[in-house]
């Protein structure tokens, strides 16, 4: 129920963002994109999926300069090559099963602090 709730919220927001709705809005490619985001973020990692979603959208738009610089359509070629490479080298996704939490950040800061302290003394 909760997952359907999340999907509903995103669907409503997306409809207001795009301004039109059609039944085939979420066809094959949307499913593909979502699958990629989830697996890139790491299966079973909720925050991983969120972060990967942002990264995904950012890369998608950042690569637009390739379209104008080389040939229109080159962006998707570069993008798919990047996708394959990431999948080959980070096969568990960017986060694995880990979560991106405050605890994790604090631990990281603490560890870095201790490491720096040890270096200094």
């Amino acid at each position: 129920m909760f997952s359907a709730f999340c999907a509903g919220v995103s669907g409503g927001l997306m409809a207001t963002l795009i301004g039109t709705i059609t039944p085939d809005l979420f066809r094959f490619f949307m499913t593909f994109y979502l699958l990629m985001i989830i697996v890139l973020g790491g299966l079973g990692s909720i925050s991983g999926a969120v972060v990967a979603g942002f990264i995904f959208a950012a890369i998608f738009e950042a690569l637009r300069f390739v379209d104008t610089a080389v040939v229109p359509g080159m962006r998707m070629v570069v993008f798919s090559v990047l996708l394959i490479l990431v999948m080959l080298f980070f096969r568990r996704g960017l986060f694995g099963r880990e979560e991106f939490t405050w605890d994790w950040i604090f631990q990281g800061v603490k560890r870095a602090w201790r490491w720096a302290w040890a270096k200094m003394s």
Partner: protein, 248 residues
């Protein structure tokens, strides 16, 4: 009556095309348990190779068709080597994602290539295929006759390969249990490469004949089409029945 005969022949033609493409899907699924999303684009590339070889290199149609089948078979092997083999031990879902990535790559490569582009191209078709035969009220294009014949020949060849050769036996063994087959000393990677070669070559035959039947090429939609063929032809046999999924 004439309409019935014609439509039945059309159906047989379309069905044999679907079968040619679905076979590659089931072979890969039976062995790797992977839905090979790149298969539809392999099929699409076969038509484009014929187009390139005929239009750019001015080869005769038959030679370019045979060359296209060989090239596309090698493309299948290369895709397996680059995108699937490094992930043999990884979770299945990562394989699925690289398959989608390869599919995107192949589709967009066609769009980027200056000789192809995103616009539809007319497909070169030999006169044997376009010739129209008349029997009473029934008018049949040559392609309607040739497609089932060629498809049947290919599938008979496949049955021979799978049931009468050493590689075929290894394929069936891997489809049943990949680890045990590796323990028995079969070279798993070689057999999987053969599987991709044969599957892609059959898809190439399907793609070339599809081009003759519907003589225009565009890079889009091949994935949908291939999923169609997957659902219609091989899904009933696939789950839990690797041996049955081999039967065309």
């Amino acid at each position: 009556m004439a309409t019935y005969v014609q439509q039945i022949l059309n159906g047989v033609t379309l069905g044999s095309l679907y079968a040619l493409i679905a076979i590659g899907y089931t072979m890969v699924y039976g062995i790797l348990r992977l839905i090979n999303f790149a298969h539809g684009d392999i099929f699409m590339w076969a038509g484009y190779w014929v187009f390139f070889l005929v239009v750019l290199f001015h080869l005769p149609w038959w030679i370019s068709a045979i060359c296209a089948v060989v090239i596309v078979g090698l493309m299948g092997v290369a895709i397996e080597r680059i995108a699937y083999r490094p992930l043999r031990e990884a979770p299945r879902i990562s394989l699925l994602i690289t398959a989608i990535g390869v599919s995107f790559l192949l589709e967009n490569l066609i769009i980027v290539l200056p000789w192809a582009g995103g616009r539809q191209k007319s497909y070169p078709t030999p006169s044997l295929m376009t010739q129209i035969y008349t029997a009473g009220n029934v008018r049949i294009q040559g392609v309607t006759i040739w497609v089932p014949v060629i498809a049947a020949a290919c599938l008979l060849g496949l049955i021979f390969l799978v049931y009468r050769t050493k590689v075929g036996r290894a394929m069936r063994a891997i489809a049943t249990d990949i680890e045990t087959t590796a323990l028995m000393g079969a070279d798993i990677n070689r057999v999987i490469s053969y599987t991709f070669l044969v599957g892609s070559a059959l898809a190439a035959v399907g793609g070339i004949l599809w081009g003759c039947r519907y003589p225009r090429r565009n890079p889009w939609g091949s994935t949908f089409f291939a999923i169609n063929s997957l659902l219609s032809c091989s899904a009933p046999f696939a789950p839990g029945f690797p041996e049955a999924s081999w039967l065309p």
